[in-house]
Amino acid sequence: MKFISPMTTSVCLASALIILMAIIYAEYRSRNTEWRQYQKKGIELSVEKLKRGLVSEHSQDARNKIESQIASLLFRPLEPIEIKPFNGKYPSEYCMTCHFGIEDISASHPSEIFGCVICHGGNGSDLTVKGSHLGLRGGRNPARLDLAAQSCGSPGAEAGKCHSDREHPLLNRVDNVPKSLMATNAGIIGILRFQWGLDEIGQSTYSIKKVSDGKVSLKEIPPEMLPNGDYSLADSHFRKFCAACHLWGARPDEKMGRLEGCPACHAPYAEGGRYSGCDPTIKRFEPGHAETHSITNKIPDDRCRACHNRSARVGLNYHGEMESEQYGAPFVNGFMNDRTLSDDRFITKLLPDIHHEKKMGCIDCHTAQDTMGDGAIHGRMKDQIEIRCEDCHGTYEKPPQTVIFDKYSPLASSLMRSSSYLKVQEGAEILVSSKGRPMPHIRKTEKGIFLTSKLSGKDHKVNVITGRKNGHQIKGHERLECDSCHSAWSPQCYGCHQLLDFSQKGLDHMTGEMTAGLWAEGRTYFRFERNIYGINSNGKVGILVPGCQVWNTVIDSAGKVIEPYDSAIMQLKNKKTSIAIGPTHPHTTRKEVPRCVDCHLDPKALGIGDGRMKYDRETKKIITEPIYNSRASGLTIDYPIDAVVDSDGKILQGTSHELSRGFNGSELRRIIAIGPCLACHDRYNDPVWSLPGPYELKPSCIKAMKSGSAH
């Protein structure tokens, strides 16, 4: 050994030491791999869950079963867990080794059969966090709209043709949803650009993303700043305000319940966007997660309310909630009360929709096509929505339409499978929507029409009004929407005062970037009582609400107003202004209806503004004394803010929907003309109202009124 130099000896010894340390460390790593730690935690979470179930379980057999499951888990060795998707048709994967205890995404997507890679992508054969997640689609969400076609089943998808290329085009949901209104926001964009003076008509040519159905093509909404240097207020407002709600929206820090893509509706959501399932790898105190790793077709109402809580506010209205004036009153223990929405807006409790009161959910009326579209690009919600009151309740002349249920019909059978509560026999008579599509949850029997709730399974007897003379037979009322009479209230948000402040930055929801200019908005006042009526975009008499009455203010980075945007009213291409009213369906349905005089003799209901109304015998005209003085209140208009037309039917405010308008002079005269009759004939079932009009005061009427007795 004397021939070995000290240097060589040192190198050899150091190398031997390093090799020994490396071997020890490698052994340590193999005993404490990431997957072992995750699996151990997953077992603990699963045991905790079972123990919670044990506390609430009273059946001895069930308790024994749970206890045996707990024992089995506690003695379970830590080991790689292999899944062979579809009996080995796809490569083995080991995702469950770490994601031990994760919930099946649904009963029809069991992890044991599907595995994970089919939906999520990734490298299922790897057992490290980094290696296994290589090639993962969409991070935590493979059902983003840009990935859903691949993850959930297009012809090119790994799993085959699950939700695309189906037997019926309506079932190609992953193809249809990106063309639907919740993905395009075409209705919002169209009205916004029209109402702010950019476009000639309210029919949008823009969408959140470029999209086409072969007949209609929509371009992507332009940027705030156009290439020529022009700043578009409307597009900026959409990007920084309205675009907070659409199915393409990426919201990693979401706390208000709006998830992205398919999970936006189909995944459960807990307060704060926290996950509370059994997957040990998902951070439980991080926002932006679904409550559990699961999806459902039984969409709870809170999924709809997550977005439908502004503008028409139908998600709130249906549940009898209305934004209050935001004082937080009444105070509780010296503090503001806690009746708030997830974004801290205070609410007032009002009369809910009777369907809600009867425990029906949004999806008990609204069909899959209403929400996910029918594959066509629509510019208006009314064009995509296929359900109407008449589809279930009929009209005075016509009962609801039915078809025979055919279990071999791809659409009907698929819709029936959408809820485990639906049991329809072959040959049963089921109702169809206004577009003639089957609704297997509503069936006609010898005992009447019954709706089975998709959410609860409860059967609801449907009241059919066909032939029932309790007002539905009144001549002229056939032009009314059902909810014109049957809406208890409507959310009326008067005066929409927008402020764009360039001294602050605002989030562009389309790009996720903060850019110069923050939008804020305020209102003139709120009302909910006594509806305003006019002609809606279906050409029927319906309820109108402010929508929207825009005053725009823009200030520069120094806080100075940029002229002419100092509470400026926007001038429209059709020569009207941005002070507009719009038709709505309030979703505050009640059996009870207003009295005849509540509409025929109420100036607010007639759309000529709240106030005193009298008939001037000399001029033979209706004269109104409005309660609200717009000019004196600082608004730059010369008519009451709740007046759509004047008493002659002259248009004061535009409407955001084509064809929609206030009553014209002739209509107003006809409506008011029966006012004197109502002193006696004030019941819907009064035989007089079964007679054809026009109605005139007869000598016997005048005599009766003078004598104060019936004739």
Binding site: F3, I4, T8, S15, I18, I19, R29, N123, G135
Partner: protein
Amino acid sequence: MSAPKSSRPGKIKSYPFLVNRELAAIAACIAVLMMISVLFDAPLEGPADPNGAPTQNVKAPWIFLGVQQTLKWMPAEIAGLVIPILSVLVITLIPYIKLKLVPKTGLFVVIMVSVILLTVWGYVS
């Protein structure tokens, strides 16, 4: 230290002098590679999808990163055959060739540094 003399003038025995040094170098290399192996995971990506779009940045194993890098800006025959074979040949023949302009150690260092630089370049590019 008195070493066994070689029967050939100007030479020493390869054993134990060279062999011991080489063994120490091998041990040092194994130690370094093992440390790297246990501390850093291999930069492997997921399995390639034969039906998917070609990946633009496919990397060769680290020992070939240098060669792969030269392939990006030289004809395949030169970068893939001539240069590697020539490099190995030159290193092998260094003891047997007489160079006047460049010292033998210098030539070895130049080749090895070039290989290392190309490998690092290939890794980060």
